[in-house]
Structure formats: C-alpha cells, structure tokens
Amino acid sequence: MGTSSDRSLDGVAPEPLALVARVGSALRLAAVDRQAVEQGLAAGMTLADARARCPTLVTRPADPVADAQALDHLLEAMRHFTPMVALDAPNGLILDISGCSHLFGGPKALAQQARAIAGYASRHAFGPNAMAARALARHGGSGGDVAALPVAALELDDGGLAALRRAGLRSIGDLAQRPMGMIAARFGEQAVTRLRQILGEAPSPIAPRRPSAPIRAEARFPEPIARTEDVMDVIEDLLDQAARQMEARKLGGRRFVIRLLRSDGARQGLAIETGQPVRDPAAVLRLLRERIDTMADPLDPGFGFDAVLLAVPRVEPLAERQQAMDGEAQAAEEGIVALVDRLGIRLGPDNVRRLQPCDRHLPEGAQRLLPATQSRQQLWPTEEDRPPRPLLLFDPPQPVAVIAGVPDGPPQRFRWRDRLHEVRLAEGPERIAAEWWRRRAGHQPGGAGKTRDYYRIEDSDGRRYWMFRHGLFGEETEIRWYLHGLFA
C-alpha cells in the first residue's frame, strides 16, 4: 500500500495556498493545495503566472528540511500499523501491510485510520507490490487497475515520455502488450525495468527503516543492596554491557543516565554528559563518582536498592581507532578531554570555558567564552594594521574621572580607585563606532548608540591602560570615560 501525501492542510483554508521556492532566478510553485489545483495551478509554474490566474493565491516559502522532518515523524507514526515502513521519496510512504490489515478491520479501514493519523490531505492506493502501489497512488484514477495507468507512471524523463506518446502508447496496458525487447531498444532499459516492476514481474523490494534499539542495561536484585560500593560495582557491570552493545554498533555515549529504584518505591537519578563520545566503562565510572561527590545529598539507600537501570539516551558514532604511531600525543589529547569532562562535572560546565572569536565590532563582543566541551579549535583571526589590544579586559569597563587638555584630546590625568594617575604617553584615538546595524533604529540619527574613542595611555608609574571616551563631544551633554583594559 502506498500513501502519498501532499502538503496542503485539510481544506480548511478558504484561499488557495501554494509553497514557492526559488528555481534559478524565478520564483516557482513547489507545491499546491487542492483548491489551487481546482484553479488550474500546478507545481512548477512560475509565481507570476500563478498570480495572473489566481490573484487570491496565498503563498509561503517552501522548506524542504522541515518537510523531510515532518515526513520522518509520519514514518514513525505509521509504525502503529506495521513494522515495515519505508520512505518513498520525495513525499510518500510505503507500508507493507501483508498480514497486518485484519488487525485494523481490513485494508480500507487501515488506510482510513492511517490518513486520519497523518492529518494531511493525502492519496493512497493498494498494490500487489511496492512499485505498483506507488504508481497507483501517484498516477492512478479511482480503480486499482494497473493496466489503465498512464505511461507517466513509469516516471521516465521528459524525452522518454514524449517518445512513448508519439508512438501512440498511452497506458501501461498498451505498453505491456508489446514485446519487451522492442521497448528496451526504443525507450531504454529503464522503461522495461519499471514496467516489469509495476506489473509484478520483477521484484520491487522496499528498504524499511527499522527503529534503532535504545542502549540500555538493567540489573534487578533478589535482595536489596545498600552499600554504595556495591551499587558502583553493579553500575560498572551495566556499563560493561552497554559498552558491548555500543561497540557492536560503533557508537559511543554522550549522556549516561542511571536510575536507582529503592525498595520503598523512591527513585533516584544520576546523569552525566561527556564532551566526546565514550564507551570505556572506567572513564564513565570515574565521572559518575565525581557526580556523586558533588551531589548535595549523597546516594541515600534507605532500606536498599531493588534495581539499577542504565540508559544511554544520547549516542554518537565512535569508530574503533587504531593506535597512531605517535600514541603519546593522542593519549595526551584524550587525557585533556577527560580532564575537561571531570572538571565540568565538578564545577559546572559553565565554569570550564574556552575563548572563541566572534565576528563583532565592539571589543567586548569580539570574543565569547563557551563551555570547553562545545568549543571548536580554530585559529584566532589577527588584524595586522590595528593598534594593539590589551591582555586583560575589564568586564564591565571601569568608570574613571578624567581631565583632558582639549575636549577632543587624550586624557591628561585620571582618577581611578581613589588614586590620581598622571598620563605620560598617549596614543589615539582609535574610533570604534557603535554597531548600528544591530539596532532597530540604528540607521536613524542618534539611534546607533555612542561612538567610542579608544586611547592607549601610559601613566607615570609605567602602567599601560586602554581607555575610552563614551560618546562624541558636541553630541552628548555629559561625556564619560571608562577603563577597558590593561596592557602588559
């Protein structure tokens, strides 16, 4: 049975609806709903033509990724009817309902339920094999007769179809009466293959997507256990089982969840996350111990635990790696990843961070601190002809009281933390404008925020500071100065 769904919602919308996508330099309709079809619109038409025919057309941009996701969800939903569900590209599903239909009251009732679950306007058809079902769903009329299908059901390219029509062959039935050798010679081998598949003479297998079994392990005890060490031993055993499951599927876990069921019905949970996929039980156990150490109330066994369940809800591919010749460097890298994981669990992932460059204009926005497990190693962008930047930045900038010689000039002395600093050397200004393109009214006068004039200064003690004047003279009534960094 094939269910082919198009994307229009069940005729609630009073106006015809179409999804548009940019093809080349023109906007074309990617999909149309039932009302649009009634108005004579079809997928592939340019938007201008469609608007000329149907001025009330409502359009939305097409989103193929979201469509694929929705189809995936539908596929999962169809598992309700049969375990053999396959994707029928681009927008259909094929359900193998051999031996399943009687459970739902026959094929017709099953199809009705499936369409109700899908919720979209859809077409469906039954066929003795997958290709026939597909052809009937997409090109068939009311009957289930394969021979009456138009030759378009072969889904050949435009040239092939035109050749078939020129030869006076309009339906599959016409074509089936001709000798296969002649068809192959004139219209290509593909035409014969498709024809034989639709007629059921050649197999048309489907590749059903099978649900991947979750990775889990559990242990149940005849007598409750209470000692933490015993529990850890059991967890190690479970991790071993999970590691074997993951090894067979070339996976590694990013998240491990332990549930401890107490004999009085209370449940306790433990969860850890790792920066890299792992399956080594010893490494995971070390992280779990770290987690138990940081918990406010340690494992409370009460009258003992009845069962321990382990689940690995987040997995990622982890291939078995061959030890490189420079095994030492690899070991060092793994050691650092493990250290970051350990510190992240003990101190919180937001306290173990790395600097990442950001493509921003303002100095404080040009970098951000990301948790080390999420950060990517990348080269820091350097700009050659830019005044140097300080080693330490104040966050937030420190307000200072400044005396400048001329209103627009560099500071002459400033007071910071109750100490007066005489400026010996100064360089500047380096003008950094506010990021007006990030503000709503940034393009209008005064809406962009204040411009900063940065000065590199050295005081009489030989300390070098990065200082900026917030706002321009003449534009602001009160000019403030801030220290923004310390140079070496």
Partner: protein
Amino acid sequence: MTANGPISSARPAGRHAPEAQASCPALEQGHLHEIHSQAEDRAAALAFALTQGPLAGAGAIFALRTPRRQRLPTLFSGDGLALLGIQPGRLTIVETRTEVDMLRAGLEAARCPGVVAVLMESEGRFVDYDLTASRRLVLAAEASGACILLLRGDAEPRSSGAQTRWTIKSAPSVALEADAPGWPAIEAELLRCRGGLAGGRWRLTWDNEGGCFRDADGQAPLPGAVVPFSRLRTDAGDDGDEQRQVA
C-alpha cells in the same frame, strides 16, 4: 632539579630559549613558580608568566581563577593573547567558587599528561596555600613535567616549595613616535631561586619581531639589589671576573 650551578646554565637550551632572549632565568618546566605583583600590574605579571615559561610553544594551558576573590573583574582578551604569541584556543579557563577548589582543580590539571602549564591566579592572602599545598603542587609538576605558575596579587611572600619566586612590575616603556606608549616593558625581580642565587633584577622589553621579552636596550641589570656573580666562575679563577667582583 638543578644542582647548585650558575643560573645561566640552569636555563634550558631548547629552541624556545635562545641565548639572546633575556638574561634572566626562564621559568622551568616541571616546577612550581610564584609570581607576585600588585593588582594593577596583573597584566604585566601574566605576560611574564605566559612568555617566559615553556608555554610559548604548543600544548594545553589551564588558567584557573576564583572570580569572587578578585577585586578587579577582568577577562582574558583573545586578541591580547594572540599578540603575545599564544593561541587563545590553547587556553582553558576554569573558574572555581573557592580557592580550595582552585587548588584541587589545579592539582588535577597538573597531573594530567598533555597539559603544558597550569596558571593559577590568586589575589590577597590565599590562606589555603601553605607548605603542604605547595609541596603537593611541586610533586605533581615533577611527576608530569607540567609547569605550574601561581600568580599572587597583593600578597605577602610566604614560604613554600616553589622553585622560583618573582615580583613583576610594569615599567615605563620606550615611547614610540608621537609620544605613543611603546612595547610592553616590565621589571622582574627574582626574590628566591631554589638551588641558585636570588636577588637579580631585570628590565625587560617586548621584542615584537622575536615574539619574546628581551633585556632593555643598553641597560645592564638594574642597580639595586646586588647581582652576585656565580661562584663557579670565580672558582675557575677567571681574572676579569675576579677583578670586577673586587670592584
């Protein structure tokens, strides 16, 4: 550990420590080094720590700090690090709630293979850093070969197991054209050197082409605390040295 030799020979003759770099001893790997400074000179102390040690090459650096203890709220600037020749991606910044947590995390990082340096920033008294704690750090550093740098801002020197103890101050730079502040300049004083002679003072300026600190041009080690010449060389009976020592 080095024997009681002259400081200059204790310097590793690796490619990151060419002879022309600076006459002050480099921060050796596998040891604990204390760097004292005032809070305002923290950038200078950091620059010294980041460039004088084995950090200048490659490898992971763990920078640990206790933000609650710091009076000046500062962040590392990636651009500033890159100017000192340190790729900011090598730096993992760890922030802890208490100083004990910081010591513990630092100890763990020092024991980890692959970590080149552990940089701990503290400010104020740092009560938890005592002889035992410092000895633990020293043992971890010796075992793994990592370099542990402890920056102490606004603090009194305290006896510890550190290999060297420095005081770093910002120094007036040599002005560039149009009275612009010049390249970073610092004044380093070696307060203590285990197995060597302490008391030297150096004025260092940043050499942007070489990417390292060098002795300030035309300036011998600063007058002040006397720089004693190494005993070994006097024993060798070099006349010139002897004369100078007499003088």
